[in-house]
């Protein structure tokens, strides 16, 4: 049976190519009600996530190069400063070439939220929401929700303890999770559409801070699941960023809403 499937796949691949790379570039995730590791006062029973498609891998240098070639206003010597800070794509040898410090198959980094957003729009997609990211990232290779497993948490922590002056591996090196998505952990931080909705205080020891005026009607977001370091560190990272910022470890991937009734 497996062999037949394999043969079928071999035939299907060229067809997939004809249909457009987009066909296998995304996988579908069913969504549902999802308990976030963040304590949402307005979603105590969980967040509703509509079915959506997510790129299997983060966007690579090669893919982003195609984008800036066809959208020259996003090349690093032309982009308005308000959309990207001075270090945007600084790891590329020139604004339109890649090189040893930026291989085509590595996830693209040094990109701002505006640049990531523009790329996704250019391929008919959008950035994923934080909830979509969190939901997809809760899965391991065989389970939809591996978050309570201490061994899984250990794996994630050991990814983070790798020093960041090592070169980035290529995108797609990790085993796909149960939905087929790769590299959600341990490769690069990823922009989300609503990164700025992670309203945490700069000193997030103030859990339960009485200051309701701080975020207009609510105190800072706090963690419900304090042992979920993966999410804790993501939230800390994303909450420190402005839309024009870029860092050496921050990339992105795109998502698409299900065709029916798609509003942001």
């Amino acid at each position: 049976m497996r062999r037949r499937l394999a043969l079928l796949l071999l035939c299907a691949l060229p067809l997939a190519g004809l249909a457009g790379v987009a066909a296998s570039r995304y996988v579908g995730l069913p969504g549902g009600t999802f308990r976030s590791a963040l304590k949402y006062e307005d979603a105590k029973q969980g967040v509703r996530i509509a079915p959506f498609a997510l790129m299997r891998k983060p966007v690579t240098n090669g893919e982003f190069l195609d984008f800036v070639k066809s959208h020259p206003e996003w090349q690093r010597d032309r982009v308005p400063a308000v959309f990207a800070e001075p270090r945007y794509l600084s790891h590329w040898p020139t604004p339109t070439t890649l090189g040893p410090t930026a291989r085509p198959d590595q996830p693209v980094v040094w990109v701002s939220w505006f640049a990531a957003n523009a790329y996704c729009e250019s391929v008919g997609a959008r950035l994923p929401t934080w909830s979509e990211w969190e939901y997809a990232a809760a899965a391991d290779e065989t389970r939809k929700d591996a978050r309570k497993d201490p061994a899984w948490r250990e794996r994630i922590l050991s990814w983070y303890s790798r020093p960041s002056n090592e070169a980035l591996p290529r995108a797609g090196l990790q085993a796909p999770n149960v939905y087929g998505v790769q590299d959600l952990h341990g490769l690069v931080w990823e922009w989300t559409d609503d990164y700025s909705s992670l309203l945490v205080s700069g000193d997030n020891r103030n859990q339960g801070d009485a200051d309701k005026a701080k975020f207009c009607g609510a105190g800072a977001l706090s963690m419900d699941d304090r042992e979920n370091y993966a999410v804790l560190m993501r939230v800390a990272m994303l909450s420190s960023l402005e839309a024009s910022n870029a860092t050496t470890n921050l990339g992105f991937r795109c998502a698409r809403s299900a065709p029916r009734g798609n509003t942001r």
Binding site: P80, S196, F215, C216, E242, T263
Partner: protein, 209 residues
């Protein structure tokens, strides 16, 4: 993810509205250009927020890109009309800033409050707030962007927000001062009737004596 246009008998009306809007827009641009000829003609600085194109629909149901505000320093903030907590203070803050200026200076500062909630803040809702708080339309504009632009506007202005399931928003509050060309000169997170003295000084410097 654009909304589908309705077909049939509404098309003609929409067409008229579109033409009307375009004429209004053209007039605004023309007036803008005539009144402040020199700055508007020069190329837009790379760090100007107007690099982002943002069509806004205001309390008088006019739609114009915020780029047309170029040529005059602006005081901007983000809010939404059904906000109970801090947003009334945002209006207070704007008024407090105005209080610190002479009438001549007030004429030289545009005040723009941008809604986080375009789905519910239509022109009528915006107008209701403007009327209730007695905001002179010659100086105060309350406007809503397109739904897809809210996150980008918040991004350039440095405002963070989260949409709640009940339609409310949690958000940071800031007053942002832009120069004639849309570059950010100053910002303050201190809202209320006691304005931040450093911010006031920056406003005074921007509008001149």
């Amino acid at each position: 993810m654009r909304a589908q246009r309705a077909k049939g008998q509404h098309t003609m009306r929409r067409w008229n509205l579109a033409v009307g809007a375009m004429v209004a827009l053209a007039t605004t641009i023309l007036v803008g250009t005539l009144a402040f000829a020199a700055p508007a003609a020069a190329p837009l600085p790379r760090d100007s927020v107007y690099q982002l194109s943002v069509p806004l629909t205001d309390q008088q149901a006019r739609t114009a890109d915020w780029r047309t505000r170029r040529g005059k320093p602006q005081l901007m903030a983000m809010f939404y009309t059904s906000c109970q907590y801090v947003c009334p203070l945002i209006v207070d803050s704007g008024k407090a800033v105005e209080h610190q200026l002479t009438p001549a200076q007030q004429q030289r500062l545009g005040i723009l409050l941008i809604s986080l909630d375009p789905a519910r803040d239509d022109s009528a809702a915006l107008k209701a707030v403007a009327v209730k708080r007695k905001l002179d339309p010659a100086r105060w504009t309350l406007a809503a962007p397109r739904a897809n632009d809210v996150r980008a506007v918040a991004g350039v202005l440095g405002v963070r927000y989260r949409a709640l399931s009940d339609g409310e928003f949690n958000h940071t509050t800031a007053l942002i001062l832009l120069d004639r060309d849309g570059r950010i000169l100053a910002r303050t997170e201190k809202v209320g009737s006691q304005p931040d003295p450093e911010f006031i000084a920056a406003v005074r410097k921007a509008v001149g004596p």
